[in-house]
């Protein structure tokens, strides 16, 4: 979906077109689900947050301007919802709030490595490594400076490499 097509769909959806709204949701829901799943490894929670994100996007659509991609907007909403979720369940430490998989879990290694990171650093890593966002976009999504994103991302990569080397050695 090009920016122009998306912009047109966004404008029409804001004007009340359900078809265009449906189209935007269909295009972006899977991305939000994947983003949350990579952060939490929890299918149920990812579904809940992705649905809530889509609903909030629609409810607040008239307040939004088309400046960034819809996916960026929805990822920002999803990230904030996840933060709220963790705040409500603060009895569980942030970096340990990941369900433990069984021996047949194909995501076990990625899960082990990612769970070493704090949730905000994990978000940066997932956005950069898996979703290909640049530092500026990540900064906008997380509401922090581009320089902070860069330094935290490099710290995350270093920590993961170190962890992997230890795992191999």
């Amino acid at each position: 979906m090009t920016r122009e097509v998306e912009r047109e769909a966004f404008v029409k959806a804001r004007g009340g077109s359900k078809i265009h709204l449906s189209y935007l949701i269909e295009m972006n829901y899977p991305l939000v689900f994947k983003y949350i799943f990579k952060l939490t490894f929890d299918k149920e929670l990812s579904e809940d947050i992705a649905q809530e994100t889509a609903v909030r996007f629609i409810v607040n659509l008239k307040k939004f301007e088309y400046r960034a991609k819809v996916s960026t907007l929805m990822i920002t909403i999803a990230g904030n919802l996840l933060k709220d979720h963790y705040r409500k369940h603060k009895a569980v430490p942030l970096n340990e709030n990941i369900p433990v998989g069984g021996p047949d879990d194909s995501n076990m290694r990625a899960r082990e490595l990612l769970m070493q990171l704090e949730i905000e650093t994990r978000k940066m890593f997932v956005l950069k490594y898996y979703h290909g966002y640049n530092y500026r976009e990540i900064g906008e999504i997380l509401g922090i400076a581009e320089g902070t994103v860069k330094s935290r991302f490099h710290y995350a990569v270093k920590a993961l490499r170190l962890e992997e080397e230890e795992g191999n050695g």
Partner: protein
């Protein structure tokens, strides 16, 4: 790191129609809540205006004209000014 960092995503099932329906329900709920808030504010303003009218009955014509143009905070201010102008204090 690439291969081992690969994450298998479970199948995604969702129905945009259900999401749209839920969003519409919330929009309607918000609209109703806004209506109630508007009614409450209107009632409060009405009560304040009525109070202002009663308090300013000595200057009824002036008060009525002012109240038609401005809302309750101005009436309260006028009342305060009138009381202090007569030599009283805001504490009565």
């Amino acid at each position: 790191m690439d291969d081992r960092m690969k994450i298998d995503i479970p199948d995604i099932e969702f129905d945009p129609a259900l999401i749209l329906a839920e969003a519409e329900r919330r929009i309607e709920k918000k609209r109703k809540r806004d209506q109630v808030i508007f009614l409450l504010v209107a009632m409060m303003t009405g009560v304040m205006m009525l109070t202002g009218l009663l308090m300013c009955r000595e200057y009824f014509i002036l008060a009525q004209a002012a109240l038609m143009l401005v809302v309750s905070p101005v009436v309260l201010l006028m009342t305060f000014v009138r009381r202090t102008a007569k030599g009283g204090t805001s504490h009565g």
